[in-house]
C-alpha cells in the first residue's frame, strides 16, 4: 500500500510493513541529514496507578544497556558518528527520535532496533535513572508552574485516569519500581503492531524498509489499548498552593475541551487562537499584558488528545494582581461566547493555520513530526490537501457555537502556586 502525494515540495509515502509497523517517509536531498520519529502504544495509560511512572521509566532506560552492549558502548556508537537519539514514555505512547547523517542511517536503525527490542535494565543504570527521575520530581515540587499544573490535572480528570497524573510518576511509586516491573512492561507492550515510524531527509527507502521489516519479528501482538475516553470533570474547583519564598504566582484556569477526533476540534482551535494565542497571546495578551501591564506572560491553549481535551489559560502575575487577572480572563471567555469574533480576527486565524503549514515543514524534523501526527490521529496521508479547505469552511457563527458548547466559565477549575496566604 503506497500512496504518493504531491503537495508543494512534500512527497510523503506510507506503507504498512508485514510486521505491522506503519512507515511514513519523505525524501529530500537539501541537507545530508536525516530525522526520524517513532511512536508505539506503550505510555502510562498501560500502567496501573500504583506503578505510576513505570512507562516513563522504561522509556528513559531503554538506551542504557542492552543484552549485547553496556550503556557507554551504545553512546560510543551514536556519538562517534555525531548522531543523537532519544527514547521516552509519555501518557498515551512511548516515543523515539533520532538525527544522523544520511550515510549513517543503517547504523542508527540497527542500534534503535537493539535498544527497543533487547534492553537489559542493568541494576546500576536503574539506580542512576531513578536518581535522575527523583531529582526532576524534587525540582517540580519547587516549581510554581509544575505544582499548579499537577493540581489542575487532578481537578480536571477522574482519579485513575492517565490524564489525571503526570507520566513521570511520583516519588513513592518511582522509589518502589523494580526490575520485574520493567521487564514485564517491556515484554507485553513493546511490539511492532501499533508502531509508527516516520523518516525525512536524505534516505534510501529500500534500506529503511528492509531494516524496519525485521523489527520485533517474533514478538506477539500486545493486548489492545483500553479506551480511556472520558468527559473531564465538570465541577469547578480551586486550589491555592502557598510557596512564600517565591516572587511571583503561577495561575492556571482550565476547563473541559474536546478530543482530537471531535468535530469541534478545529473551531475550538480557532477560538483559542483568537482568545489567547495568536500574535502576542491573542486577546488575553492584549488585555492583560499590553493594556493592563499585569503579566509578562498570559496565554491559553486548547489541548486535544486521543481520549479527551482541555482548555487552559496560564499567567505569571504578582500576588496582588491574581484576582484582577482571573476576572480579566473570565471576562474574555464570556465575550467570546457572547459575541462573534471580528471578520479580521477570523481571517487572521484562518490565514495563520494555513500559512504556518509550510513553516512546520521547513526542516526534516518538522516533516517527520508532522507525518507522525497525521498517522497517530489517522488523519490520512492526504490531510495536507484537505486541511486548508477544512479551515476555510469554518465560520464566525461556528466558532461562537463551539465556545458556547465547550467553554463554560462555571465549570472552570483554578489552581495557583506562589507567595500566597493559604
Amino acid at each position: 500500500m503506497v500512496y504518493p502525494v504531491m503537495i508543494s515540495r512534500l512527497e510523503p509515502y506510507r506503507e504498512v510493513l508485514d510486521n505491522g509497523v506503519v512507515l511514513l517517509y519523505n525524501r529530500s536531498r537539501d541537507t545530508p541529514s536525516v530525522a526520524l520519529r517513532g511512536s508505539l502504544p506503550a505510555g502510562s495509560a498501560r500502567e496501573p496507578e500504583d506503578k505510576a511512572g513505570l512507562a516513563s521509566f522504561v522509556g528513559r532506560i531503554l538506551r542504557r544497556g542492552t543484552t549485547h552492549r553496556f550503556s557507554q558502548e551504545i553512546s560510543a556508537v551514536v556519538e562517534d558518528i555525531g548522531a543523537s537519539f532519544a527514547t521516552w514514555g509519555g501518557t498515551e505512547e512511548a516515543g523515539f527520535s533520532a538525527k544522523c547523517l544520511g550515510r549513517d542511517l543503517a547504523t542508527v536503525l540497527d542500534l534503535l532496533q537493539e535498544v527497543l527490542e533487547q534492553p537489559a535494565f542493568p541494576e546500576t543504570e536503574v539506580e542512576r535513572t531513578r536518581a535522575e527521575v527523583l531529582t526532576v520530581l524534587r525540582e517540580h515540587e519547587e516549581s510554581t508552574r509544575a505544582r499548579a499544573d499537577l493540581a489542575i490535572l487532578r481537578m480536571l480528570y477522574p482519579e485513575g485516569h492517565p490524564y489525571s497524573r503526570p507520566s513521570i510518576g511520583n516519588r513513592e511509586t518511582v522509589e518502589a519500581l523494580g526490575l520485574e516491573d520493567f521487564r514485564e512492561f517491556h515484554d507485553v507492550f513493546y511490539a511492532a503492531p501499533g508502531m509508527i515510524v516516520t523518516i525525512a531527509g536524505d534516505v534510501d527507502l529500500d534500506l529503511v524498509r528492509g531494516r524496519l521489516a525485521g523489527w520485533f519479528k517474533e514478538k506477539p501482538t500486545p493486548p489492545p489499548l483500553s479506551s480511556w475516553t472520558v468527559e473531564p470533570n465538570g465541577d469547578a474547583g480551586r486550589v491555592v498552593i502557598p510557596m512564600p519564598h517565591k516572587s511571583q504566582v503561577d495561575l492556571i484556569m482550565a476547563g473541559p475541551g474536546v478530543p482530537r477526533h471531535h468535530p469541534d476540534f478545529l473551531p475550538l482551535t480557532m477560538v483559542n487562537l483568537i482568545l489567547g494565542s495568536l500574535g502576542l497571546m491573542g486577546r488575553l495578551g492584549e488585555q492583560i499584558r499590553e493594556q493592563q501591564g499585569m503579566a509578562y506572560y498570559v496565554s491559553s491553549r486548547s489541548t486535544s488528545r486521543l481520549w479527551a481535551g482541555e482548555w487552559t489559560a496560564n499567567a505569571g502575575v504578582a500576588p496582588e494582581n491574581v484576582d484582577r487577572t482571573l476576572e480579566a480572563i473570565l471576562e474574555q471567555v464570556r465575550i467570546i461566547r457572547r459575541e462573534l469574533v471580528s471578520e479580521t480576527e477570523m481571517t487572521d486565524a484562518t490565514d495563520y493555520l494555513i500559512g504556518s503549514l509550510p513553516l512546520r515543514l521547513e526542516t526534516n524534523d518538522g516533516i517527520a513530526s508532522y507525518l507522525l501526527n497525521t498517522e497517530y490521529y489517522r488523519l490520512g496521508i492526504d490531510y495536507i490537501d484537505r486541511y486548508p479547505g477544512q479551515v476555510r469552511a469554518q465560520t464566525r457563527e461556528r466558532l461562537r457555537q463551539a465556545a458556547q458548547d465547550h467553554m463554560d466559565p462555571d465549570r472552570f477549575s483554578i489552581a495557583m502556586a506562589g507567595p500566597l496566604p493559604p
Binding site: 562517534d80 531529582t135 511571583q248
Partner: protein, 422 residues
Amino acid sequence: MPDVLEAQLQNGLRVLIRESHAAPVVSCWAGYRVGARNERPGITGASHWVEHMSFKGSARLGKGDIFRFTARHGGTNNGFTTDDLTLYYETLPSAQLDTALLIESERMGYALFDADETEKERTVILAERSGAENNPHFELSERMGETVFLEHPYRWPVIGFREDLERMTREDLYTHYRTYYAPNNAVVAVVGDVDPPAVLEEIRRYFEPIPAGGTPPPVEGAEPPQTEERRLEVRKPGASAYVQIAYHTPGLGHPDFYPLLMADALLSGGKSVSWGGGGYMGRTARLYPALVHSSLAVSAGSAFRFTLDPYVFSLSMTVRQGVDANRAEQVLLEVVEGLAANPPSDAELSRVRRQTEAQFAYSRDGVTSQAFALLFFDLLDHWSFVDRHLERLAQVTPADVARVAATYFRPENRTVGWFIPS
C-alpha cells in the same frame, strides 16, 4: 556552501542574502551590536527593555502589528537580547518577505517609545524578572556575574537589576535606542526561497532612507586579571545542590579560542554553532563518565560561547542526592584542570570533530537556522567565520588543548558558586 550576496548600503547597513529553495519559506533577521555590555549602572536592562519597546509601535506600525502581521501569514517572529547583541527575526512564506522588511525597517528607524506604553512595559518587565526569580538558580547566576566580573559590564544580568528597572525613564530608553539602533551598527540577513538581487533592491527601498547614526561609544570597564579563587554560596529552598564554575578566557580572535572550544567539546560533546542542532553528544565526553556515570551527579556540562569581549569558560553540575558536594566539586575540578596533564588522544579528537561536523550539517537544515548563523557571526566578526569553523577545529592539536588547560584552568582563575538547598 552556497553563495552569499553581501552588500553594504550607503548608510552603513550590512546586508547578507542566501538562496535556499528547500521549502517555500524565507527567514529575515536584523541584529544590532547592543546588549547588557553597552549598559552602565542605573540603566542595566535598557537593551532588553528597548527590545520590548520595539514591538510597541512605530511611524507606520501600530502596537501589536508586528505579531499580528507575522501571524496573519502563518509566520513566526521574536526578539532576543544577550550580553552582546539584540536580534530579531521573522520566518514567513517566501511571498511575504515584504512584511518582514517593513517590520525590521520600522524597528530600525522609527520606533515611537510612547510614554504610556513605556510605563505599562515597566510592570511587564518587572513581572518577567519576578518569574525568573522563581527559579532557585536565578540568584546564583546573578551573583556569579557580579563575582566573576569586577569591572566589565558582563557583570550585570541582561534583564537588569530591579532597582534600575523601577527607576529608568523613557528618555533613558529612547537615548539608548537612538544610540545603538543605527544602520551602521546593524546587519540584516535573509535566507530562503528568494531571488537575491531582487531582495537586495527591496532592502534598499526599505532601509536606505534610514540615516546613519554616530559611532556607538566604546565599551568601558577593562576587566583586571583574576589573581585568586573567588567563591560564593546561595542558600535557598530548592531541590538539589548545584554548582557553577567560571574561568576567565580570551576572546574570539585569540589563538587560544579554538583550543578552548575543543576543550569544551572534549568535556561535554560537540555542539551546534547555530539555531537548533543534533542534541546532546556528551555521554562519551569526559564529564559524563566521571560525574554522572559514576553516580556523583545527575547532570554535568560545560559551555564556551562566542562573544565580543573576553568571557568565561563555564561548568555546571547538579549533584546527586546524598552525595557530598565537596567531593563532587573535587572530581569536577580534577577532570577539567586535569586536561593539562591528560591531553586528548587522537581518537577523542577525531570523535568530537565528527560530532561537530554532524552538528554543523544539522544546523543547515532550515532557513531560520541558516539566517541566524549568517547574522550572528557577521555581528561578531564576519559571516564567513562560520565556514572556517570546522577547519579551525581540525587544526587544534592535543598539545594545544593541554596548553590552554594549563593556562586558563587554574585555581586562581576560577570562580566557584554553589546553590545549597535549605
